[in-house]
Amino acid sequence: MKTLNIVGPGAVDLADRLVARLDGRVATVETLPETAARDTDASAAYGLSTDGSWIGAGDGETLDGLLDSLTPDYDVALTVGFADARLPTVAVADAEAAGEIRHTVAEAVEAALDPILDVVDDLEPRITLESLVRRAKASPQADRSGAIATFTGRVRVKDGEDDTPTTHLEFEKYEDVAADRMRTIRSDLEARDGVFEVLMHHRTGVIGEGEDIVFVVVLAGHREEAFDTVEDGINRLKDEVPIFKKESTTDEEFWIHEKA
């Protein structure tokens, strides 16, 4: 799922115009000026019709959490008016944004959409474990598969009780070579008997404590090859793919290999 944020006067109108031109399933998330009212004490209230249409209201949600939950099901999410979100952003007029402004338009109603569609094309997709599992399940060989094994690498805060806490990690990738090597690993593993799909994703940039970093998902006939392959997948990724990790603790920051 690609995510694009739109900020500035008329952002909602610009989002509406874009929805008509975007391919695939699109979700929009608009900022609400005040608490979402609902007529129940329940933490969340949904309505679901037999035709599959639904409405919902709840509390305790964050933009990141919401986008993660949308990721497996939608191709594009347009967030509207989230000026503080660190998301790729299209700005209307001189609106400011915390995220990287990829394109600016003077106003919303007449703005040319093609340049914005180009921005969407170039966006890195948002990936979650569930979105990879969903893709694996969509495999042409899914009906031969009785097992899905997954691995999630995440930012460990402490390696022992007295360890200085890690606040965040930063990952740098040698882009094309990394993609190439991941492709090689995936095709080697998919060549194994009974292994149907191997999916991998490693995030780059700054990743905070407790957040997910890397996913390996294996769709296989049986659990034995699923377990073996997911283990081999992550081990080979860590051995062979040019990705570099810098750790920041409450005391210092250092590249991981420097401490080895």
Partner: protein, 92 residues
């Protein structure tokens, strides 16, 4: 030729891309020497005590490791992409 640098090597050099004045026909070793000329601080990070490329340093030409000794003798051609980086951060 252009060197792509990563991690602490990029930090020491102050840049992720360093252009060196070495052309097709020269060797990878020539390009590396030129890199050290441009960024002397890299020498200590890349070379071991005997003046050879340290075991843990990766020298890549077009995404492939050039290998320890012979590798540096590899002749460069137009459009080659060179990269230098420390061990990939597997982590435990």
């Amino acid at each position: 030729m252009q060197w792509k640098l990563f991690a602490d090597l990029a930090e020491v050099a102050g840049d992720r891309e360093i252009r060196v004045d070495v052309g097709p026909g020269a060797t990878v070793g020539d390009a590396l020497d030129a890199l050290f000329e441009a960024q002397p601080a890299l020498r200590d990070r890349v070379l071991n005590d005997s003046g050879a490329v340290a075991d843990h340093i990766n020298v890549l030409r077009n995404g492939e490791n050039v290998g320890a000794d012979d590798g540096l003798e590899t002749t460069l051609v137009e459009g080659d992409e060179l990269a230098l980086f420390p061990p990939v951060s597997g982590g435990r």
